[in-house]
């Protein structure tokens, strides 16, 4: 099998001290501490408890943001989004455009919370109007997600940004956090809009269009808290029983999800760590350039050279800043979303298993209890339909999700590579022009010496 072949090719041990392929460059022996420290870096990345970045939503300096048409960024009006390249593989024209912006703080006697403005533009007939503007808070998004999960237990619902940060946050509502959340919420709604099934969900429509009081009254309807709790209890019970008859394809899916979850979490940690290291590098570089200026004050003959070196370093410093912002713009949000997605997926698997478990337990009961069997065949028939429906829904959505995941990951990493290439190209140009100017100067000087 392809997968197995690749597994055997995969390198087994951790980061070697020298070169990756054993063709260690240079003749010098590897530094004594190096294998220790690179292992340390690995350990730091993997260690769940120690890593301070563990549960934090990555912080971004909003001022560094670069406008990019792929990002759920900023106030591009819904209409201008028509010009955006679709980031999902949806056929035909989008007819539902959503933006999330303008976070606002609301203070009541009981609490403080943030609402976000949601603008929807649509040409769909089932909507009463072509444009809607509402304000929603995080709780409302949670409600929506809950409803979607309820209605479509085996569809892959897009993830919501985390509720709150456990560590490292002094204030719940600092600007970075709000901005990050806003972007994630924007992505959340758009992913739903692009989903072939979810986009027609009634609760979704209400979420986008209802006024505040309408939404509250609507929320009160529907299965109450107790019945939802009952569902949860059943789900937990069935997952504890274990699923005996999980079909092969879902076993594969489950394995994939487990491994994927592991890997994407690691990648999330690594990416955050890279951002942190780049930031610290940037901080040191800021101090590095000015020292050369200081030096030039005491060297008459080297003033120009030193000043030029200082300006090169400063320019590289700026390029580093840009690279950092590119990373936090393109890569970090995507990777983090898929971390949340992987948690989502495990939930979906559980729900599917639970639906099947219902069927299985009834079938079991039928096999062992001969009494009360009149209604069973009908019930079982219904349950069998339910299972088949759920499985098919999941299968279809799974393929779609995988395709999207591939595209998103591919894009995110390609962007990261692009940022790095651009960074190095800028630095290269800076130093090359320095070198040229030094050589030119030298030529000028030597030609002046000639009689």
């Amino acid at each position: 099998m392809e997968g197995e072949r690749r597994a055997s090719q995969a390198r087994s041990s951790g980061l070697p001290a020298g070169g990756a392929d054993g063709d260690s460059p240079g003749g010098s022996a590897p530094f004594p501490g190096s294998s220790g420290s690179s292992a340390l870096l690995q350990a730091e990345v993997l260690d769940l408890d120690e890593d301070e970045d563990d549960l934090e939503v990555f912080s971004k300096d909003a001022s560094l943001m670069d406008m990019n048409s792929f990002s759920p960024m900023m106030p591009t009006s819904p209409l201008s989004m028509i010009n955006q390249i679709k980031f999902e593989d949806e056929p035909d024209l989008k007819d539902l455009f959503i933006t999330v912006d303008e976070p606002e703080s609301h203070v009541t006697t009981i609490e403080t919370f943030i609402t976000y403005r949601i603008i929807t533009k649509t040409s769909r007939g089932e909507f009463d109007s072509s444009e809607f503007e509402v304000r929603r808070r995080y709780q409302d998004f949670l409600w929506l997600k809950g409803k979607l999960e309820e209605a479509h237990p085996t569809l892959i619902i897009p993830p919501l940004p985390e509720k709150f940060i456990v560590k490292g946050m002094v204030e719940r509502f600092n600007d970075d956090f709000i901005e990050t959340r806003r972007k994630a919420l924007h992505k959340f709604l758009n992913r739903i809009a692009d989903h072939p099934t979810l986009t027609f969900n009634e609760d979704f429509k209400i979420f986008l269009t209802a006024q505040a009081w309408e939404l509250s009254s609507h929320k009160k309807q529907g299965p109450g808290l107790l019945s939802r709790m009952g569902q949860t209890v059943r789900a937990v019970a069935s997952s504890m029983r274990g699923v005996k008859n999980r079909p092969e394809e879902f076993m594969e899916m489950n394995n994939f999800i487990e491994l994927f979850s592991q890997k994407i979490n690691l990648i999330d940690k690594i990416s955050q760590r890279i951002y942190k290291e780049e930031r610290e590098y940037f901080d040191e570089m800021k101090e590095y350039g000015p020292i050369h200026i200081l030096w030039s004050a005491s060297e008459e003959d080297l003033v120009d050279t030193l000043k030029d070196v200082a300006s090169c370093i400063d320019r590289c410093c700026k390029a580093t800043e840009k690279r950092m912002s590119g990373l936090s713009e393109a890569l970090l949000p995507v990777v983090h979303e898929y971390v949340l997605y992987s948690e989502m997926l495990m939930g979906v698997m559980k729900r599917r298993d639970q639906i099947q478990a219902e069927l299985d337990s009834k079938v079991e009961a039928l096999t062992y209890k001969k009494t009360d069997t009149d209604l069973f065949p009908e019930e079982i028939g219904k349950l069998e339909d339910k299972v088949e429906c759920a499985n098919n829904a999941l299968k279809a959505d799974w393929e779609r999700w995988k395709q999207n995941m591939q595209n998103d990951i591919k894009l995110a990493f390609t962007d990261m590579a692009e940022e790095n290439i651009h960074y190095y190209e800028q630095c290269l140009a800076t130093w090359e022009s320095f070198l040229t100017s030094q050589t030119n100067l030298h030529l000028e000087e030597t030609s002046e010496d000639k009689p």
Binding site: A10, G26, K263, E277, T305, W431
Partner: protein, 403 residues
């Protein structure tokens, strides 16, 4: 590097090897030290071929002895500094251990540089002790000590005293002292920050290596993305490991700067010598003036200056004219001597200033050339690092594209 000197032929010097040795030290205790092989080759004019003429082993302390000797016998020369005794300005990955092979290697290069600097100095290269350092393995230490240079060395206390009390040092030397202080301070600062930057850069590169491992593991479960992930991961490993060479090169750049950090001390040594000589001169002039005064007073009978003789005379009675005559004569002799001495000290001082300043001018030119070259080589290193980066990330991007 080739140059003319004692051998009447062009020679090449290299410190080609370093070896760990054990031996007994002055207190008869076992110790481990590193010995360095110095090879001298003379170059035939006709065909440019070089012939090995001498090869011997020296340890760091012998280099120190050579330098201390040169400092005493050539106080007007800016004597080239030795590479550092202990590793300083280290960043986390770099070892501070003197026995560490990379430190030893960099020291080997530093010692070679030291010898080449001396050999290319128009005055120092002619020194006999230097010649013997390169050619006479056994007994060299005794030969140096026999010169008695340690006795000729100025006492530190005397030098310090002079620095504080000299009244009219040559302004150029005062300026030079300030310059050397500034040079030392700014290069130290630069080296410290550079070490921190290197540390951070190391971190950035190495963390990317983790991608390599995870991508590889991930690729095992992916059908379409697998190949792209796997090969991208490989490039991440290459990227991560490329930093080792990059920073090793940069360490050589740091060493070039360090040499001039230590040169600052050599400059100060010349300034101190000038101050000492100047102070000596001033003291001698003062002494002479005071003696002349005394003489005059004795001759004319007025007592303006304080003298012990004068006091005792007052207390115990006048001295006889004969006694006074005798004293005047003694003083006149002393004054004569003093004037001679002053003349020669003045001459010495002016010679010193002239020679020292000539060497300082030579040093300045050398410094400007070397530092400029070092800065340019730094740029070259950055360029090479950027090119490597572009290549690796372009490759990685291709792999990502294929996913």
């Amino acid at each position: 590097m080739t140059h003319n000197n004692f051998w009447l032929k062009k020679i090449e010097i290299s410190v080609s090897e370093a070896e760990k040795r054990t031996g007994r030290n002055a207190m008869n205790m076992q110790e481990t030290y590193t010995a360095y092989l110095i090879e001298t080759r003379s170059v035939e004019h006709t065909d440019g071929q070089s012939v090995l003429t001498d090869s011997l082993w020296r340890r760091y302390s012998e280099f120190e002895l050579l330098r201390n000797y040169l400092l005493v016998y050539y106080p007007h020369i800016v004597v080239p500094p030795l590479p550092e005794k202990r590793a300083e300005f280290v960043w986390h990955k770099l070892s501070a251990d003197n026995m560490d092979p990379d430190f030893v290697e960099r020291r080997r290069i530093g010692l070679e540089n030291f010898l080449l600097r001396i050999a290319s100095h128009p005055i120092l290269c002619r020194d006999k002790i230097f010649y013997l350092f390169l050619t006479q393995e056994g007994n060299w230490k005794e030969t140096v000590n026999e010169t008695g240079f340690q006795l000729k060395a100025d006492s530190r206390l005397k030098a310090l005293n002079a620095t504080f009390r000299v009244k009219n040092p040559d302004k150029r030397f005062t300026d030079l002292k300030h310059y050397s202080d500034e040079l030392q301070s700014v290069i130290s600062h630069l080296l410290r920050v550079r070490a921190r930057v290197a540390d951070r850069l190391y971190g950035v590169y190495k963390v990317h290596g983790n991608y390599g491992r995870v991508f590889s593991e991930w690729s095992a479960i992916e059908k379409e993305m697998g190949d792209g992930l796997q090969s991208a991961g490989h490039h991440m490993d290459v990227y991560a490991s490329s930093i080792d060479d990059i920073l090793e090169d940069e360490e050589h750049y740091a060493d070039q700067l360090k040499e001039y950090l230590f040169y600052a001390e050599a400059l100060r040594a010349v300034c101190r010598k000038h101050e000492l000589m100047q102070y000596d001169l001033e003291m001698a002039a003062q002494d002479l003036a005071s003696k002349k005064q005394q003489c005059e007073e004795l001759a004319t009978g007025t007592v303006r200056t304080f003298s012990l003789k004068g006091m005792t005379t007052k207390l115990f009675g006048q001295e006889t004219p004969e006694q006074r005559e005798a004293r005047i004569k003694v003083l006149e002799e002393q004054i004569n001597e003093g004037e001679q001495q002053l003349k020669s000290k003045n001459l010495e001082g002016r010679e010193f200033v002239k020679n020292a300043w000539a060497d300082i001018e030579r040093f300045k030119e050398q410094k400007n050339r070397d530092l400029k070259e070092a800065l340019i080589s730094y740029a070259v290193m950055q360029i090479s690092m950027c090119k490597k980066g572009i290549q690796v990330w372009t490759n990685a991007k291709e792999c990502f594209n294929k996913m």
